[in-house]
Structure formats: C-alpha cells, structure tokens
Symmetry: C2
Subunit: 344 residues, 2 copies
DNA sequence: TTTAGCACTCTAAGCTTGAGAGTGCTAAAG
DNA sequence: CTTTAGCACTCTCAAGCTTAGAGTGCTAAA
C-alpha cells in the first residue's frame, strides 16, 4: 500500500466528499474545496493513478471519481479521522445508561434506537445465543385449572416464559417439588447441555411427573432451535434509510427491506464479524454474503466477563459516515460493557 | 342513493377494474371488457352523471375515471361480491389454528403473518388493553443477591415480567408472604383499579416491606401508562406495500413507514373502529385522522365472552381488494374467537 | 334515448438540443 | 522531471418540442 502523501490527500478528499454529497468528485472540486496546493490538472493525473491502483472508480468517462471498496478500506484503516461526538450526542448516549434498567433486552432496544437516531442508519442487534447461555433460575407455576407457566431466567438476564398445559392432577406441592428438582439439576447448565440424558435422570427422579416433564423438555428444545437458526435479530430505524439517495429507486428500497426480513442472513452477517470487543467494518463486496454487498456493516461484539452477550451492527450504504458510526458504536459499546459488568 | 341498474353496473366495473389495474378506466374499456350491452358513448354519459354525483373522479380532462371514496363506499356497502377463498387460502388460515398454541400473543403474531402473506397488505394488531384486563396471578421471586422478578399474568393470558431490584434483606419466606398478600389483594382487579389506595392498604398490612412495594407499584403504573398511550401495536408485512404502484414514489413510501412508527396514531385508528365483532371498513378520507386519509383500513374487533381482546387491522391503499380482505379477516376472526373461547 | 362521428384535450414517451462538468492529452513553463 | 495551462472531446442531465394514444364532450342523426 505505498501511496504518497499527495495521493493520500486526494483519496481522503474524494472519500470525504463522496460520503457527504453522494456525487462523483472531479479534480476541480478537490482543488477548490480542499486547497491541496496543486492544480486540477495534477490532481487529474494523480486520480488516474489512483484509479489504476483500484482505489477510485469512474462511473463514466466524463464523470468525477467515486471511491471503490478498496478506497473506502484504505480510508477506514489509515485515514479516517477520529470523530469527536458533540456534547449533545454524548449526552444522548449517556442518558440511555443513566436510567436504571434491569433487563438486558430493554437496554439493548433503547441503545439501538439511539444509535439509529444519531446515525440515521439501520441498527441491527443480535441477542445472546441461548445455546451458550446457562440457566440461572427455573420455575413452574400453575395459573389456572388447565395451564401453568414455565419461567426461565438465564445468566444474561433474559427471561422467557411459556404457557403450558398442566394436568389438574398436579398439586401445588408437586409443582414446588418439580421446581426444586429442576433447579437442582438444570441451573448452571447451558441450555444445549440440557439434552435428553439429563432429562432422563430427572425423569427417574420424578417418575410420577412424566407427562409434564415431556412438555417441558419439548419447550426447551423448541426455544433452543428457534434461537439457533434465526437468532433473535431485531432491526431498528429501517425507514430512515429511505432518506438516502441510494434508495431513491423503489426497487432498491424493496430489496433492502426484503433483506432485513431474512433473519438468517442477518444473523450470519453479524456473527461473522469475528474480532471480539473491537469495532469491525465490512465494506461492500468484502462481505461474503452477496445480498449484503451493496451495503457496509459496522459491528461490535459485546463481551462481558468472557460471556458473549450479542452483537450490535450498523447497516448502511457503502457510502457511510464511517468515522461517526465507529465513534458512536465504540461509545455505546463501552457504556454497555461497563453497565453490564455490574449487572450480571 | 338512487342509482339505476346501469349506473351500478358501470360503477362496479370501474371500481373492479381500478382495483385490479390502478389505471383510470375509460368508457371504451368498460364497453369492451364488461359487455354491458351499451356503447361507449352512452357509458360516457352515465359516467359523467356518476361523476357529478360524486362516485367517480377524473384525474384530468382526457383521462378515464377513478372511484372516489364515495364510489368505494357504495361498492363496499352494496356491490362487493362475497369472495370465496381458495382451498389453499383456507388451508393456510386453518393451519394457524390447528397447532396448539397457548399464548395469545403468539397466535396473533402468526395470524398477522398469514394475513399479510395472503393479502400483501400490512396487518396491524392491537393487543388487549392492560387497562381493562385484570390480574390473574402475581408472583415475586428472587433470582440473585440483588434482583428479583415480578411476574404478572392477566386473564387474557398475557404474561409480563420485570426484573426489579431487591434488597438482600428480604428472605424467601418474605417473598412468599408478599406474593400471597399481593395475590389476595390484587388478583381479579383490573390494573387500572390498582391505584394508590389499594397499595396503601397493602402497605399497612405489610409495613415492613415498604421499599419493595414502592418499586412494585411504580412498575405497575409504568406498564399501565405505556400501554395506554401507545398500545401494544405490531405491524406485519409492511415491506410488501412497496410492490404497489401507489408507493412507486419514495416520498410516499417514506410517509407510510413513518406513519407505521406512530403507534399512538395507529392505536387511535384501530380503536375507533367501533362495531364489535363485525368487520369495519374505513375508506380514505372517511378516516378522521388526516395522516391515514390516503389509506383504507379494514378492522375487526376480537371480542370473546365480552372481553375485548384487541383489534386486527389491514392497512392498504384505498384501491384495496376489499372483498378479499374482508373475507380473509372474517375467516381469521371467526377461527380466532372460536379458539380463544376455549383457551380463556 | 341511444349512438356514431368528430374535434378537442391531456399525458406520457421519445427525441433533440445545449449547458455544464469533467476528462485526457499535449505542449509549454518551472 | 514535474507541474500546469489549454483545448478538444465525452457524457449526462434538464428543458423543450413533438407525436401517438387514450379519452372526453358535444352534436346531430338513428
């Protein structure tokens, strides 16, 4: 990557301007706006070089230049200024974490909303994988003659409840016993460890409750599978994307919304951002999933005490305000990790 | 509403054709496609009459006619054929209700998804109003040293949980006592009845748990208020709307998505469809909310045993396949009511 | 009362044109 | 050797013009 000083300046100018305007940038514009001290003609020569090296791209012969994904990559890796957030932005982010919120899910939802408001891009969140979480607390209750409630709390603070059929023959003291035994045997286990073996041992211990145990096992497995295939992805602020000229064409907009509905793809995309506790930027065609190659995605993997609590992702056009997005995501991640480590 | 036979035929033809094509219909088209047995010239005269009476409308002098909201209204009230659903559609609807589902919420979500798939319009759902539901079961648990879980089940089968701070000084037997007293005093009450008076009496009964009772009261009120102002609205299948020519303009699409995010408006719109257990059709400007006057909305209020369980709404362009939508919604409502009356 | 005929209107699509932005190349200047 | 001015060239976009087509309303005849 040997780019000399001048080429760097020009590349930076093109990327910066294109992010701001979404219009191809010409040599004259750069000379005028970015006072590099050389004439448009020279800039033209440099730009021709940059194009040959793959950093820029020309939509058509007489148009200005647009950054290629390689250009963005260089910008993100080496040139991107660290964007200082405004006081208002800072305050908004802090405000999420000031209120005492006890539920992970709610906190994440709030954070996603704020990120979308600040960036005007779509925020994706992938909750903690049930598979890797372990049960902290289980309870079985009766709520009326025929039905009961199975309650599970994981170490990540996620609560799930399922209404289940419960034969009227089971008494309250039975339930207490079941609850106790379930807790003794299951709490501390990850959900994927709760396989039929463990259930078998429980069943031998509680042979008289065979029926209800079968139901419980079924629900556990169902929850697990549902989670594994499509994750618990949520997207926030998708309508904001319609403001960008990239989506002026309804066909494009439709593709985008269709994409958001493919939770399996989104899950894959979010998971594949690998480095833990770092901000990851994937630009356009760098994404292995072809459906996402028109977009860029910036992700942050939230890890607290070695526990993988999920992923935040910001999805936008390749022409994305990377520096702002990265700053905001960094900031939110930090706060989140700090808050969660006291919460868990 | 004195329209003679011939005018009715013409109006029906215009509405029918416009719903199918989204293009203004001319006299020749009607003569050709709907063989009414009169010439285009005569049709023109009749159409001029219909326009004068407000049933049709002409986008510009040399264009065909388009139904006005009055035209749609006449069609819906008097002309609309009862659309028989295809076997496949029937089967799809039935399939939702065949699986044994215990949670209202899940059932509703499934139903909404199917409706959207069948109609390609957006389905809105408004869950039961917490305000009018009553508590069936309350429980307070400890999940770790500092936190506990407040669990509420309403008579509608909706479950809500909140993680709360819980001072370590409170023992398990304390919790049991609290749970019992809460159940004794609160179950059977609607949430809006649970005002500070009742809580005061509980507090005197349990003077030693003042701190935690305050927290609980706060959460109850919070839940109630949140519900009252924005309801628990969910919209499904919104991206499908981009297929309609009405939204070819991105500006329109943006408005639509922005509208969907205004849950208070949607709640109002769904609630104002008054007649219980009947299908309600609100066409364009008939809607008191100006933001919704570009759309039509077909709603059905789900009432079981006198309990208002919520509202289904199908939101689409005024040029909507009313007969299909009404049939589907009718069908789903029937199944839903039947299923729920065994469930509750 | 219905219909054929016709002049008229309006839109949408296609075509032309010119302005504007930008380029690459060449040759001169530094 | 590098930079720059100059210039011919290219391409797009918007504006204006034209035309085909669809549809109307009116009139007069059936």
């Amino acid at each position: 990557m040997m780019l000399d000083e001048r080429k760097i300046k020009i590349l930076a100018a093109v990327v910066h301007d294109y992010i701001a305007t979404a219009e191809p940038i010409g040599s004259r514009t750069i000379a005028r706006k970015y006072r590099i001290g050389i004439s448009p003609a020279t800039i033209r020569n440099e730009m021709a070089d940059l194009e040959e090296q793959g950093y820029l791209h020309q939509p058509h012969t007489s148009a200005g230049r647009v950054p290629s994904h390689k250009g963005y990559r260089y910008y993100v890796d080496f040139l991107m200024p660290i964007k200082k957030l405004s006081a208002a932005e800072q305050a908004l982010i802090r405000s999420i974490f000031n209120r005492r919120v006890n539920e992970l899910e709610e906190l994440v939802k709030e954070a996603a909303r704020v990120i979308s408001n600040l960036t005007s891009y779509t925020t994706l969140t992938l909750g903690p994988q049930l598979k890797s979480s372990h049960l902290k607390y289980i309870q079985v209750n009766r709520i009326d003659e025929t039905r009961g409630l199975l309650l599970m709390v994981t170490n990540y603070g996620t609560v799930s409840h399922n209404i289940i059929d419960m034969p009227p023959t089971i008494s309250d003291s039975d339930l207490e016993r079941i609850t106790n035994i379930l807790n003794d045997n299951l709490s501390g286990k990850t959900i994927s460890e709760i396989n039929s073996d463990i259930m078998e041992t429980i069943k031998t211990e509680m042979i008289e409750y065979d029926e209800i145990l079968n139901i419980l096992l079924e629900i556990l497995i169902e929850n697990l599978e549902e989670d594994a295939e499509s994750g618990n992805v949520v997207s926030t602020g998708s309508s904001k994307m319609l403001d960008y000229p990239e989506f002026r064409d309804v066909e494009k907009a439709k593709n985008f919304f269709a994409l958001l509905e493919q939770h399996d793809l989104i899950t894959k995309a979010l998971k594949s951002s690998s480095k833990p506790n770092a901000i990851n930027v994937t630009i356009g065609v760098e994404n292995p999933l072809t459906e996402l190659q028109d977009f860029s995605i910036v992700t942050s993997n939230i890890i607290v005490d070695g526990k993988d609590l999920g992923v935040f992702g910001i999805l936008g056009p390749t022409r994305m305000e990377y520096s702002k997005v990265v700053s905001i995501l960094e900031q939110v991640t930090n706060y989140l990790v700090k808050t969660l480590s006291t919460m868990l």
